[in-house]
Symmetry: C2
Subunit: 550 residues, 2 copies
């Protein structure tokens, strides 16, 4: 027996129509490249997204074609978020921090036909080798966010199209195609630490479901009262889906443009009375330092939640924000492959009885699965218990989780036979379902059949005053298969720490068999384009490192 509800697909166009009907007057604020602040409203943005869609149709773009963006967070990028999927094309956001060779690979692999690029990123575009000869890109459209009037417009000297001129010349609306909710809406490539970037293709359905799930009271609580500043880039997993959720709810949206330094962000947080912001730990650590520096006394009292994801933020940073600045940092976990929101570390009413230390320990976990996401963790022995101590690889499942990569058969081992995605994250899960990322599966140290978290050791080592940075990697061991090697960057003017002192320093916090067997000093830890430790390079460097049986 079938249900007898209407067959109405979940599509991005729903958000356009809803925003236009209910929330036309909501403010959309962007910082321009020249640092001035641009203000418009959601009704105007939706109207312009319709013109963008019509202009793309005029360029011959059809349902399923890919339209790429190489852009910071601003209102024109939001217009592309709404307009491109609504006319049936696929929005492909390019990560501007990637190497030009990788950008060329991605643009080619995705088959992008149009490229919307920020004027300030034209030098980056120019650095992409043989863009016009080696890809299918037919049109390059430049978004300048300039303060000049459209009336003064002239054709660009470089022959590229101008975004504002294109919109001014376009019909006010596009021809709306029938869209199936399983059609592609957007795509994003993961910047993995190994191998070629892999494309994740979000459907209209997953985009809408994610917008609902991320907005729930126990997720990021997005409503009409929300003022959201996504520090997370719009080229990174659709800025966590915040632009879609905020458009659905009629929230005010604030975009930092290319100015991602702590002072510029803090200014906007204060002046626009931001209630919700989200980004990676690096950003928050920079902002903490800025605030600790006693800068001009920003009024950040409107902030209800600073969501952090992409990597673990140390408990001390969460505590510092709370105790020194009254700001609530909330951990979340997700991946490009999970749309991204997988878990959020909000606390429930029953946690009111916990001590401050217990609360902080729970909040430093990455949280519990949001609705529509299922999690489990497995080790070589099968599913691990939710006991807060047994480590296993996190696997996830749900309608907003990738089931395959775009045009890539090499990744079949990322999916289990029973249909779960293997995240590559090594976690523990506590009895209430709060997960903690303990390591990446390729970084975890497998010592005599037991697992040692490299991340836990790194965080502890970096608390030593003579250590600036530390990475812990596995090296081969004749008896234990692998043992931890600590690779450190000494703090300036400090001598490198000796292994005995390091082990003594760590001993109170870890089982003895967790302690590193050796330490090596280096000048710097290699990093990925997104600022994460590139441990594969370290492992390669220390591949033949010899440990004696201790």
């Amino acid at each position: 027996m079938r249900g007898l509800m209407m067959d109405v697909p979940l599509t991005v166009r729903m958000l356009l129509d809803r925003a236009e009907a209910l929330f036309g007057d909501r403010e959309i604020v962007s910082r321009r490249p020249n640092r001035s602040v641009h203000r418009t409203d959601l009704g105007t943005v939706v109207g312009r997204s319709r013109r963008l869609a019509a202009a793309l149709q005029g360029l011959g773009i059809e349902r399923g074609d890919r339209v790429a963006t190489l852009a910071w967070n601003h209102h024109q990028h939001l217009e592309a978020y709404l307009g491109v999927p609504s006319m049936g094309a696929v929005l492909h956001t390019l990560n501007l921090r990637l190497h030009p060779d990788d950008l060329l690979y991605i643009i080619n692999h995705a088959g992008d036909r149009v490229l919307l690029v920020d004027e300030v990123l034209l030098p980056l575009l120019a650095s992409i080798p043989d863009l016009e000869s080696k890809t299918k890109v037919e049109h390059i459209v430049v978004m300048s966010q300039a303060e000049t009037s459209i009336d003064d417009a002239r054709p660009r000297a470089d022959g590229y199209l101008d975004y504002e001129q294109m919109l001014a010349a376009a019909p006010a609306d596009f021809e709306a195609p029938a869209i199936d909710e399983l059609d592609a809406a957007t795509m994003c490539y993961t910047s993995g630490t190994t191998g070629r970037p892999k494309g994740v293709v979000y459907s209209h359905r997953s985009t809408l479901l994610h917008a609902l799930a991320v907005s729930l009271p126990d997720s990021l609580a997005i409503g009409e009262h929300t003022v959201c500043l996504p520090v997370v880039p719009m080229f990174h997993v659709n800025a966590w889906g915040l632009p879609y959720a905020c458009t659905m709810a009629g929230a005010k949206q604030v975009f930092p443009g290319p100015h991602m330094d702590a002072a510029s962000i803090c200014e906007l947080l204060a002046s626009e009375r931001v209630t919700l912001t989200g980004g990676v730990p690096t950003i928050w650590m920079g902002i903490l330092e800025h605030l600790d520096g006693g800068e001009p006394g920003y009024d950040l009292s409107a902030i209800e939640m600073m969501a952090v994801g992409g990597a673990a933020v140390p408990e001390a940073v969460i505590a510092a924000f709370e105790q020194r600045h009254g700001l609530r940092v909330v951990h979340a976990w997700g991946m490009t492959e999970t749309s991204p929101l997988g878990t959020v570390s909000n606390l429930g009413p029953r946690h009111a009885e916990l001590s401050a230390d217990e609360v902080m320990s729970l909040r430093s976990r990455q949280g519990r699965m949001v609705p529509l996401v299922e999690v489990r963790a497995r080790s070589d022995d099968g599913a691990v218990p939710w006991d807060a101590s047994t480590m296993g690889e996190l696997e996830v499942r749900g309608p907003c989780v990738a089931g395959a990569y775009y045009d890539d058969d090499s990744q079949a081992d990322r999916f289990t036979e029973d249909g779960w995605f293997r995240t590559g994250d090594i976690v523990t899960i506590d009895p209430e379902g709060y997960i903690r990322i303990e390591d990446r599966s390729k970084d975890v140290i497998k010592s005599g059949g037991e697992w040692i978290s490299s991340i836990a050791l790194e965080n502890a080592i970096m608390a030593h005053p003579s250590v600036e940075e530390a990475a812990v990697i596995p090296v081969a061991h004749p008896r234990w298969q692998e043992r931890p090697l600590a690779v450190i960057v000494p703090a300036s003017a400090e001598p490198a720490i000796e292994i005995d002192e390091l082990r003594e320093f760590l001993a109170p916090h870890f089982a003895s068999w967790w302690l590193p067997d050796a330490v090596e000093a280096v000048e710097e830890i290699p990093r990925t384009s997104t600022g994460k430790f590139l441990k594969s390079a370290l492992r390669e460097r220390f591949r033949d490192y010899e440990l004696t049986d201790s």
Copy 2:
């Protein structure tokens, strides 16, 4: 180009699995028939719902079969909500306020194979004529909510199955079938004022989407902190979907059992620290009277929202709750055909600048469409403008809106050619999208091509001290086609009001052509099973009423 997300259907079983993994310790509180309070937890409820599903499989119930309930709000009913759809059967909730003949019709029409019935409702069951000979019901299972131990259990003398004995004998889990999200999950018949009841069949998909939409911050804001007491019966549009949303969020759920009087409800609201409750205006008006009566000083300070739907509640009642008791009544609108949540009258941040009167006027509207619902209003001239004054019939569209009735071809005129559902409600929509129900389409008075709201007149007439109740109906008029006739029940010991006095009383509030042409006194206004005015009976009684051209 297709999205590459996992093909994971939205199903009620997701809620079981989620609740079990994360929220097993959440309290589920029910008032028993003997007035004592039963306490269990969500983990136990989910475990028992699995046993129920297994027991039903043991009775031969298969995917798509209908399992009916005739029950008040309590934990066993919640178990049926979760267990029946999870094993692929369809939960059919019977409205215990219907006439036994209608119940027989519905049980027959739906083809129910099993009937779960409250012990206290066995007399009602016995009143249904020829239940066992004239329907497909094979098993009757009695839910007693008794305090006796299962160890003392004996077979029932009446030959019916005992719910607790059935669960105790069942396997701990059921064989989970593959469920398509478009499969039927639950069904509910509308108790219309005319014609036979019509069956609405909710899919797993619509149930999950509705649970997400109803939980959003600007809908009913359901999270882990929520303590929800649905006064709205679980046989009425799945208690507005609250049990599903609360199970998804891990909220505490409080059920009043058969004790729906104001004192019993207020006791539970206070003792369980309820934050969210919802019901029809009749309930709140009774509770307002009870609170105004200076009853024992309930502490209702935990309440964040009293949602009201099903009919319009007068602005004065909203104001009275707020000013005299500090309680926030929030208007919502929906129908059995809309799952039900269609609109909610929450205010946005920009309404902070309105005067108290303007705020109250806005809050007395039924609110704005929630995500996934589209609304429009049409009159004979086509779509009406959103100007807060032009009346049109409300039409809605969305994945949680009925596209057809179960096994009923007679209702094709309820759906437009372009795929919208005609609600039969006459509304105005203000420029911000807030709708106001002005009338039912069959009750609106069409005078000389213009529409007059019978409800607006009734509310105004009932404010007259000599009037107890009033209904306004159209009667034929030689020149204006229809004109309003006021049918009143005089307040006790008062003479019936004369037409001239009535018109003078109403004149300051309405255009002169809105004023009734005549008034007739009656002893009582006939009502439907759900307590609404049965105006069709009045129209029949005054069918040949003669007005002279005035």
